[in-house]
């Protein structure tokens, strides 16, 4: 483990903040870190850039995190896990809510490699389309219609001509991942799709056995990014 200072914080909304570290982590988009705010729990968070995490408050630790002030010191292990497979062709990023976190990083990374990147971003309401200006080519959907399409990101996905993309990257809540999986499978594009999964994690390094999928895969080590093919026949 090592520790880093939080240099800057952006409060995107009531319950989502981005924390910037004092230095960049050698990492790839899709990887996560185990972050420990002293006196709280250590939790897995995707990198939203080489030197940031974007956190949504859902419980004790994440609440404390989004309220942090610059200057605080946090413990960090990692980066861990299998990253997204990059492309320099056409990429489709599909984000549901806080699932956008790793895709901010992926977006910038792919663009720097010369890829053509389009993002579909869904949330319950407009305020939850956090940091959407990070994405250059963007289509949005909200459950309440407060911005973009009234509906879900899956509805946006269904509008897409999927054959044109070299890679499709999906991250969001479980329900949305499952629906995306079903649709992409139907369209026979699972081979070029990747999904970032979440599971409760204690170690992050493949030993404790808390994050195991049905086929025995460890989300922290074989994942969190899985190819569509890896997930066929696995309940997730």
């Amino acid at each position: 483990m090592f520790s880093m200072r939080i240099d800057k914080i952006i409060r995107h909304s009531d319950d989502v903040s981005t924390l910037f570290f004092s230095s960049r982590l050698r990492s790839y988009p899709g990887q996560f870190i185990m972050l420990n705010l002293p006196r709280y729990e250590e939790i897995p968070l995707s990198l939203s850039s080489p030197n940031s995490v974007t956190v949504r408050a859902v419980g004790e630790t994440t609440y404390a995190l989004i309220r942090l002030s610059a200057g605080e010191i946090v413990g960090i292990r990692g980066p861990f896990g299998k990253p997204f497979t990059p492309t320099d062709g056409k990429a489709l990023l599909v984000a549901g809510g806080i699932g956008a976190a790793p895709l901010y990083y992926l977006h910038d990374y792919l663009k720097r490699r010369g890829a053509e990147v389009k993002v579909l971003f869904g949330a319950r309401k407009a305020e939850e389309l956090v940091w959407k200006d990070r994405f250059s080519v963007l289509m949005v959907a909200t459950d309440d219609g407060s911005e973009g399409l009234r509906g879900t990101v899956i509805d946006l996905l269904k509008e897409e001509e999927l054959q044109q993309y070299d890679r499709i990257y999906v991250c969001g809540p479980e329900e949305m991942l499952r629906k995306a999986f079903t649709h992409l499978k139907e369209k026979e594009v699972l081979g070029k799709a990747e999904f970032s999964l979440e599971r409760y994690m204690k170690c992050g390094i493949g030993v404790c056995g808390t994050c195991i999928l049905e086929d025995g895969s460890r989300v922290c080590a074989e994942g969190p990014v899985f190819s569509g093919k890896d997930l066929e026949g696995v309940e997730f």
Binding site: M1, S3, N36, E41, G75, V207, G209, I212, G216, R218
Partner: protein
């Protein structure tokens, strides 16, 4: 080629998954079982146990420090989970308790077990583990009771921090079928940035490569003192480490922390062991304890 008997357990290889590593669910146990001789489950007690708050693990260049705190769903839940085990390796269920009768009671939940490991050595839980395993008389009584109720092999797991020869001999007298040595060693780390201990429990158990020489010495000593087989645990990471433990006297070698490096560690070690035995034209049985004969 790697077949070996440990007491009455006929194993397809001397490689055994160590307790607490990937051992809480059947899918990972089954997957590891593919290339293992046996898998040991996470230790289970009578009652569900939360375990400690995270951080529960630290990774260092020399190994891990963990204070998972024997988190467990309890024996009832866990026996349901293990009924899904589909692996083709022996299933060894690891038990923890403080009283002899509780060990016996615990074992009654696990019909699917091929053998039991008794965790008498967890260094970071106050009422079980090492507290029990430092008392030779109590260890003997636990083993005796276990053996009087079931014919399944029983393997007490000891710590290097006790007078392990005395405890092992007591276990042998009590009828133990083999001894597992060693469990993790007490240790801790402090983060100099936050100036606090890293683990929520402050201290934990040190495992991994750094403790291999310490485990080697315990295995060596136990091989000299005991008639029953010794199963090594502590730092084995490569096929060379496995051979080293076997030369020191181990009939089987557990691997835990090395899963940090790769899920395929059992596969690659297995293949390397086969290649080694072929090249050296020697059998596993001949190698067990061989370093004692040449001194």
């Amino acid at each position: 080629m790697l077949e070996i008997d440990v007491a009455s357990l006929k194993m397809k290889s001397p490689l055994v998954l160590a307790s607490g590593v990937l051992g809480s669910f059947s899918p990972s146990l089954s997957r590891v079982a593919e290339h293992a001789g046996a898998v040991v489950t996470k230790s289970v007690g009578l009652q569900p146990r939360e375990g400690y708050r995270t951080p529960v693990i630290i990774n260092t260049p020399h190994g891990l420090i963990n204070a998972v705190g024997l988190s467990s769903p309890g024996c009832e839940e866990f026996s349901k989970e293990l009924s899904k085990f589909r692996g083709d390796a022996k299933l060894i269920v690891s038990l923890f308790a403080s009283e002899p009768d509780d060990f016996v009671k615990l074992s009654s939940y696990f019909d699917m077990a091929d053998a039991f490991e008794l965790n008498l050595s967890c260094p970071h839980v106050s009422d079980a583990g090492l507290t029990v395993g430092s008392d030779p008389e109590l260890v003997k009584e636990i083993v005796e009771k276990m053996k009087s109720r079931s014919s399944k092999p029983v393997f007490p797991k000891l710590s290097a921090a006790t007078d392990y020869i005395e405890v092992a001999k007591a276990a042998e007298e009590g009828g133990a079928d083999g001894i597992v040595a060693i469990n993790t060693l007490r240790g801790m780390a402090i983060d100099i940035g936050t100036r606090k201990p890293i683990l929520s429990n402050i201290s934990g158990g040190v495992s991994g490569e750094g403790i291999k020489p310490i485990a080697m010495k315990v295995v060596w000593d136990l091989y000299e003192e005991l008639e029953i087989p010794v199963i090594a645990s502590g730092g084995a990471t490569t096929w060379r480490d496995v051979i080293e433990f076997i030369l020191a006297g181990a009939r089987a070698v557990q691997i835990g922390s090395a899963f940090f490096y790769s899920y395929r560690v059992f596969y690659s070690i297995k293949e390397s062991l086969i290649a080694y035995l072929r090249k050296e034209k020697i059998s596993l049985n001949e190698l067990v304890g061989m370093a004692h004969k040449t001194v």
